[in-house]
Structures are given as C-alpha cells and as structure tokens.
C-alpha cells in the first residue's frame, strides 16, 4: 500500500482531522470563508470591545449615594449618533458575512462533478459499509471503514443509514452530511493530495459514537485502480496450513453469522465485509491499528475494546485464534 496512515504515535497526528488544513477544493473553499469570517469578526469584535473598554475608562465614578444623573439632552443626542453609526457598521458587516457565506455555498455547489467516483456509504452502529458503484454490476464491490479514492477525481458519496442518524465528516476534505434512515443524502468531495484523511461520525449515535471512525485514503489514479481491481476479486485462497486452519475456524465458528468473505460460503451482511480485511490499516472502525495482536484481542474480547459494540466475544483455543488471525491477515 503506497499511502500509509502516519505512524499512529506521530506527534503530527493532530492534523489527521484538522478542519483548517484542507486537502481538497471543498475544504479549501470553507477554509477561505473561515479566514474571511474569522478576521472580520475579530476586527468588528475588537472595535466593539475597545469602544466598550474606552467607555468604561472614560466614564465617571460614583457610589450608591450618587444622586441619579439627570441626563442632558445634548449627551443623549450624541449617544443616538454613536449607536446609529455603530449599528450601521454591524449591518454592513452582517451583509458581508451573509454574502460571503452564500457565495461560498454557491461555489461549493458549482465545483466540477463530471465523471465522479460514486460510493454508496451506509452507516451502522458503529461502522461504515461502503459499496463502490459501477455501470457494470459485476464491477461493483463492497468494503468497510476505509475508502480509497483517486487523487483529483470528484467523489460522490450517497449517504444511507441502516439504523440511527450518523454524520459523515472528513474535516480535511469537506464538512458534514448526515446519514438519515429512510433518506438518501449526498456529499461530494475531491482529494487533491495523496494522503490518509481520518473521518469520524459526528452525530451522536449511541454507545460507540466515539469510535466510529474511518479513513479516506487518496491514492494516485493508477494506484487506486490496482486497489479497486483487487477489491473486485474474491478473497485470496489460504496458502499456509495455519491460514487453512484459520479459514475452517472462520467458516465453522460464529463469524459467518455476521461477516462475509467473497469466494467462500460466508456471505452475511450484518457486520463489515472481510473479503480484503488484511489490506486495511485499522480494525473496529478506526479503533485499533490492523496488527495481529490487536486483531486477536478484538476477536476474543471486543467488549473490552469497544464497550457496547454488537460483536460478541469469541472464546477460541489459542491455536485456533492464531490460525484465524493468520487467515484474516492474509486476506489482502
């Protein structure tokens, strides 16, 4: 895999989900609007606050026993002029903000959308099911929790929900769009730089809302095509003895009640599709790095990793567990 998530311990990791570090035109437009709005607000707010501080500083001091001021007419007239001028500035400022906001909205709506990559994304408690569409039905494929997209090509995501409301949010690429049961919402973005962009569910959706993350991996177009081609195929047949044993454990155990591995008899749709799980960078919807020891922990005791998750614990003999992990890891 060409584009790797920055080592998870990397201190620069915070840019993973930074709304102000845009990597595509949608996020960049919003970033520009943010800059304009922020500085206009700082300016107007600063002036108002300075005027307020000045007024406090200039005002006379009194005590509770100071007789109430009989306000002179002239002072009041001056006050009227000051307030009128100030409110005029506010109204002009607000007009500027509304105009900038509406123009950004229009600009976002008119970004090129020809020949998009279309992904149907369904939110589940607490993972993401992705189906890559294609005119040719045999070329569609499913994956979970990790979207690969080609750099520079518009991506149209159709947002659906299998249960409650979730929200799709990859801050470095675009703002949010909700996944609402019974409706189809859409969001469009484009990644202009190769990289890994972390996203996370942004609408509270129950116990594991905090760990309903996913990755958007932007690859060079040919890289992406290779990845997509791999995804279209069935799972790699197990080669070593451990992997073969692992496949038996998988198919004879409870895994097949929820999961699918294309090319085997496992085709349940309740949990993430595992056909190419070994090629993903994380497991449990962005919760853990996809490494054998984490995978084993997750399989044995998912409730310790994500309390409330819909995956039951699996008490496996140590040898079976190792075999299963070997098998799943081999599913690149």
């Amino acid at each position: 895999m060409a584009t790797q998530i920055p080592a998870l311990a990397d201190r620069a990791g915070w840019t993973l989900q930074h709304a102000l570090s845009p990597a595509g035109p949608q996020a960049a437009q919003i970033h520009d609007l943010w800059q304009f709005t922020l500085w206009l607000c700082v300016l107007v707010g600063g002036v108002v606050f300075a005027a307020f501080a000045w007024a406090l500083w200039r005002a006379q001091r009194g005590t509770e026993d100071t007789p109430p001021i009989d306000v002179a007419h002239a002072t009041e007239q001056r006050g009227v002029r000051v307030v009128a001028a100030a409110i005029l500035v506010v109204v002009v400022g607000l007009f500027a903000l509304v105009t900038a906001s509406v123009m950004t909205d229009r600009a976002l709506a008119s970004l090129p959308r020809a020949n998009p990559l279309t992904i149907e994304l369904t939110g589940h408690q607490w993972w993401w099911e992705a189906r890559y569409e294609d005119r040719d039905p045999s070329r569609t494929f499913s994956t979970a929790n990790e979207l690969h997209v080609p750099v520079g090509r518009p991506v149209l995501v159709k947002l659906l929900s299998g249960d409650v409301i979730h929200s799709f949010w990859v801050p470095r690429l675009h703002g949010k769009a909700d996944l609402i049961p019974g409706r189809t919402n859409t969001i469009q973005f484009r990644a202009d730089e190769a990289g890994v962009y972390r996203g996370q569910c942004a609408e509270f959706c129950g116990y594991q809302h905090a760990f309903m993350a996913f990755l958007v991996v932007a690859d060079a177009p040919d890289e992406y095509e290779r990845w997509a081609e791999r995804q279209r195929g069935s799972a790699i047949a197990p080669s070593s003895d451990a992997e073969k044993r692992g496949q038996q454990v998988f198919l004879q155990g409870t895994c097949v009640m929820c999961h699918a591995v294309q090319g085997t008899d496992a085709n349940a749709r309740f949990g993430p599709d595992l056909t190419h799980v070994g090629g993903r960078q994380t497991i449990a919807a962005g919760t853990l790095p996809n490494q054998p020891q984490h995978l084993a922990h997750w399989i044995v005791d998912p409730q310790a990793v994500k309390p409330g998750v819909n995956m039951p614990p699996n008490r496996l003999a140590a040898a079976d567990l190792d075999a299963l992990v070997a098998y799943l890891t081999s599913l690149k």
Partner: protein, 639 residues
C-alpha cells in the same frame, strides 16, 4: 428619592398587622405546603433550580475529568452518555428556564407594584410539578435509568428500537413536567404584567425587566406546544407503538428535529431575554442613570422574541435542507444579531455617560459583554452554512453554546443575585467573597471553554466519551478541565457567601443600592403583602424621579387579600379583586399529577386510572367556599 418610603411607612402598625393576617400563611407543615405567596414560592423555585445547577455541574465535572486525558477509563460510554444527557437536560429544563422564570415569579409582582402574582395557586402548583419532575429524573438516574440519548434525543436513536428500556421515557416525561410548569408560570407573568401593574404604570413606564419577562413568557407560550407535541409523540412511539418518527411505517425521523428545534432555538432566547432584563436593571442602578434608549431596548426585546422563532433550521444544516431554505435561515441567524447589538450599544452609552459604581453585580454584568461578544461572533460563524458544516457537532459548538448560555445568562444571573439578594433576605452579600467569586468564575470559565473552540477546529466531535492519544487533543482538554475545576471552586465560594450572609451579612435596609424601581420601595425582605400601600406611579424611574410616586391607592381592604386590577395600556384602575388565599390543594393536585405521569411510563393504563385522583384534587381546588363568597360580597360597594 424618599417619597416612596413614605408611602409604605404611612401605614400604621395596625394596618401592617391586618395586611399580614390577610396575605400571610398558616403556621406548620400544612401552612408551609399551602403557601401561595409569590416570594416564598419564588425562593423555593430559585433554591431548587440552584440545586439542579450544582447537580448538573457535578456531572459536568465528572465528564471533564474523564476527558482530561486521552484513552481514559474513569467512566465508560454507558455512564458518560447518561452524564452528558443529564447535564444538558438539567441545565436547560431544570436550571436555566425555571431559574429565569423563578426570578420573574419573585420580582415581577414587586417591580410592577402589586401584592402577589396572578393565579397564585397555579404558581404553587407549577413549582411542585417542576420539583417532582426533577426528582423523578434524578431518581431514575440514580437507579441507572438516566436518559442517554442526548438532551435533544434525536430519533430514531431515542426511539423504541434503539433505546430499549425506560431511560428515554423518563426524559420525555420530564419534558412534560417542565412544559406544564413553564407554561403556567408564563401565563401568570403575562397576566401580572398586563393587569396587575400599579396604577399609573402605563406601557411606557414598565421597567425593562418586566418587559423582558413578558417577552420571555410569550415565547414560552409559542415554543412549548411544539416540544409538547414532540415529546408526547416520542413517548407514544415508545409506549404504545405509534410511528410518528419511524420512517419504515411512514413516519419521519427528521420531523423530530424540526419539532424539537422549533422549540429548542427559542428556548435559548427564553433563557437569554430575561437576562437582558436583569442586565438593564443592574446597569441602570450602577451607572446611576436611566438606560439610554428605553424604547429601542423594548423594541429590541420584542424583535428578539419574534426572530428567535425563525432560525431553528440552523441546527440542521447537515441534514438535506434545500439550498434556498439554508440561505433563509443563514440570513435570519445573522439578523438576530442586530437587536442584541443594539442593546449592547445602548448599554455601552449608558455606562459611558453614567457614574459607575463598581460593585459585584456590575462586574458580572461587564463580563457579559466580553463573553457574549465572543459567543455572538461564533454564533455568526455557526449560522453560515459552509462553516457550520465543518464546526457543527464539534467542540466548537460546545464552546459556543457555553459562551452564549453562561455568558448570556449565568453571569447576569449571578449579578442579579448579588443585586437582589438584599431585597430577598434583608442582608448584603459579602463584597470581598463576591469579587473572588467573580474573578474565579470569569477566569475559570474562559480557561475551560475557550480551548474548546480550537479542539473543535482540530476535529474533536462532541459527545465522545474518550479519544485516542494520537488525535492530539489531550493538552487542551486537560487545560479545559483545570478551568472547570476553577469554576467549581468559584461556585463553592458563592455558596459559602450566601450561607454566611443570610445570617451575618450587613443589614441592607430598603434600598441599599439606591435603585430606581418599585421593588426597592418596600421593606427588605418585603412583608407577605409586598406593599402596605400600593403606590401610584408617575415616572419610569419611580424612585429617582421627584414626581415618580404620586401617592397611593386607597380603598382596598386591609384585612382581606384584595388587589387592584388595572387596564392593559394605561394602567388605569379597573376593578378590585379578592385574591385566592393559601390552599393545600395545589400541592395535592401536583402529587396526583406526578403519580399519573410517572406511572404512565410503565403502563398506559396509568393515564386512565391516574386521571381520577387528578380530577378529584382539581375539584377540591376549585370547590367554591361559602366563606370566600361572603367575604367577596361584604367588600362590594354599591355606587
């Protein structure tokens, strides 16, 4: 300035005694539960609401300690989800709105110069219903049945399929309790301001605080039906299998959001507008001058009340709202800044041309300007659709809403409490502790909430029980936790100040701040009858204007609870009215209503059987008493 006091002092001690007999309560527990004195009920309301404020603050402190470092396991998701739901629900439904209305219950009758709030028994009932609703919610929480779907309980997450058990039912039923309570108080306040003003207090002489409470009350009346429908539909979806919000059966989950926010956004202004009234009272007193631009202030309050209903969709930009709709709601979200800006500018001119008295109430009010300015500007950002799509549902929103709600309401409330405490207790709060209270709160608040703006921009969503270390959110969260701890310390100092000052504070006298409005024209604390002689008002600042108090009303019975009802516009005397006295029935009706509402969480039949005691107690409440009729007839005067 002394004219006013003469009005009260001119009454003989015999008259004071007769009035106390007519308006006072019977001794003992039954007398305590039967009281309909707006001041006693108001104090209970205030103390209860403060209790819920502290409870919700403790929940917030636990959340802050959970978030202080990444991958923390102090509390798990199950408890955390209950914590933030309880925190939000308590702060909005059990603290902010009831507290604002409670201050109105205590002070509106005093400010408009009358002897009790309109419909005083309803007032007692409203308090008990509110108290019982809050106790029900906390009992459920302590039994690990606290609601956990967020304070706005989005469907379908809050629906029967994804929130099994009784947790959300208690939430929905709590909303029923608070709806009843707030609607009743709103009706009382509107009636009090429109019909019970002291004669001469024509519309142009109504103090801004009373205006603010009236605008708020109208907002309550128009906003509450929406959430009544929403919470009732939710509870019937959950308990009897209706499908209002179930898309699979023709319902719509987004309908919930519209209904909730059509109430939920005005709710913010229901909390904010009374604070604006308190601000005006305090600024006027401590700048030693009338508020600049009184008419503009009144119109701003009313405009805010209207516009508050036109921007609920800005909570929903991430759902698929049509483009034109988005632009409309963006524009209204920005437009509502205009009346608030007008008030801020008018106050600025008031302060600028005044003679400032830097006491604790004024400090809290000045902090409002700084904090609300920031909260208002971030509000403009959230009103813009493209920006909102990035910062919606992140810690930026958490920061914004606390800047607006704490800056816009809690700071003015603290100021109002320091300001009016002498009137309520007859003693002053300590200035020294007050300043500590203020500075710790101000610093703690900014340390706690300012970093959250940055956290939101760095991608931290709200309502997460923990976060991975590598997201880089740890340091700022730790800082926020330190700030929250400082706030807790400040609130503890406030409690110490109150407890000490109630007993040992300096004696206040009638009008310690030399304020202009009528509540200061009577004893501190006022007798059960408020004013021994109802003043006749001749100016907007009755205690400052030489012609402010023209005399007093004569001809009202001293030994019976009799009141003067005045006309809406000019406050001309209209008729005398024998007021209802203390009664235990509102308490009993509240108990019966509570039993019905709580039991209906468990079985729909509770509505059938439970309504019988409600009807019986209501009949007891409204049963005409021969004694009252005779008293009323005896007071009649033939022309």
């Amino acid at each position: 300035m002394s004219a006013s006091f003469d009005v009260d002092r001119r009454a003989t001690s015999a008259q004071h005694e007769a009035l106390a007999g007519a308006w006072g309560d019977k001794p003992g527990l039954v007398g305590w539960l039967s009281t309909v004195d707006h001041k006693r009920v108001g104090v209970r309301f205030i103390v209860t609401a403060f209790g819920f404020f502290v409870a919700a603050g403790v929940l917030a402190a636990i959340m802050r300690w959970q978030l202080a470092r990444p991958d923390n396991h102090l509390v798990g998701p199950d408890l955390y989800n209950q914590l933030f739901t309880m925190h939000g629900t308590t702060m909005m439904f059990l603290f902010a709105v009831p507290m604002m209305l409670a201050v109105g219950v205590y002070f509106v009758p005093l400010v408009v110069g009358t002897r009790n709030i309109a419909f005083p028994r309803m007032n007692a009932f409203a308090y008990y219903i509110y108290l019982f609703g809050g106790l029900m919610l906390y009992a459920a929480f302590l039994l690990d049945t606290g609601p956990d779907a967020g304070w706005f309980s989005y469907t379908p997450l809050a629906g029967p399929q994804y929130s099994a058990g009784k947790r959300v039912d208690f939430w929905a039923q709590l909303v029923t309790f608070t709806e009843i309570s707030s609607l009743l108080v709103a009706i009382q306040l509107i009636t009090t301001v429109l019909k019970l003003r002291a004669p001469g207090m024509a519309l142009q002489r109504i103090p801004l605080f009373a205006w603010a409470m009236m605008v708020t009350s109208f907002m309550v009346i128009f906003a509450m039906p929406s959430v009544m429908f929403a919470s009732t539909s939710l509870i019937t979806d959950r308990l009897v299998g209706t499908h209002f919000f179930n898309h699979a059966e023709g319902g719509d989950s987004v309908l919930w959001q519209h209904l909730f926010w059509f109430f939920g956004h005005p709710e913010v202004y229901i909390i904010f507008v009374p604070a604006l009234g308190m601000m005006s009272s305090i600024i006027s007193t401590f700048a030693r001058r009338p508020i600049f631009g009184h008419l503009v202030m009144v119109l701003s309050l009313v405009t805010t009340g209207f516009l508050g209903f036109g921007l609920w969709v800005h909570h929903m930009f991430a759902t698929d709202v049509p483009e034109l709709g988005k632009s409309f709601f963006t524009a209204v979200s920005m437009m509502i800044a205009i009346p608030t800006a007008l008030q801020i500018f008018n106050w600025t001119v008031t302060l600028w041309t005044g003679k400032l008295v830097f006491r604790t109430p004024l400090l809290f009010v000045l902090a409002f300007f700084f904090i609300l300015l920031i909260g208002g500007l971030t509000g403009l950002m959230l009103g813009s659709v493209p920006l909102d799509l990035q910062i919606h549902d992140t810690y930026f929103v958490v920061a914004h809403l606390h800047y607006v709600l704490i800056g816009g309401s809690v700071f003015p409330l603290f100021g109002a409490f320091y300001y009016w405490f002498p009137k309520m207790t007859g003693r002053m709060l300590s200035e020294r502790l007050g300043k500590w209270n203020f500075w710790l709160f101000f610093i703690g608040f900014n340390v706690a909430f300012f970093p959250m703006h940055i956290l939101g921009l760095r991608g931290m969503p709200r309502r997460v029980y923990t976060y991975p270390t590598e997201m880089g959110w740890g340091e700022l969260n730790f800082v926020a936790t330190l700030g929250a701890t400082t706030i807790a310390l400040s609130v503890a100092l406030f409690v110490v100040n109150v407890v000490r000052s109630v007993r040992h504070g300096a004696v206040a006298g009638d009008n310690p701040w030399n304020s202009p409005t009528l509540e200061w024209a009577t004893a501190s604390p006022p007798g059960p009858y408020n004013f021994a002689r109802i003043p006749v008002v001749g100016a907007r600042e009755p205690l400052w204007d030489p012609g402010g108090i023209r005399g007093h009303v004569t001809g009202l019975a001293d030994d019976k609870p009799e009141l003067l009802v005045t006309s809406v516009v000019d406050a001309e005397p209209d008729h005398r009215f024998l007021f209802p006295g203390p009664s235990i029935w509102p308490f009993l009706t509240a108990v019966a209503t509570t039993a019905m509402l709580v039991a209906s969480v468990f079985t729909p039949w509770a509505v059938v059987w439970g309504s019988i005691p409600v009807v019986v107690t209501m009949i007891g409440w409204f049963w005409p008493k021969r004694r009252d009729t005779e008293a009323s007839l005896a007071l009649e005067r033939k022309p």
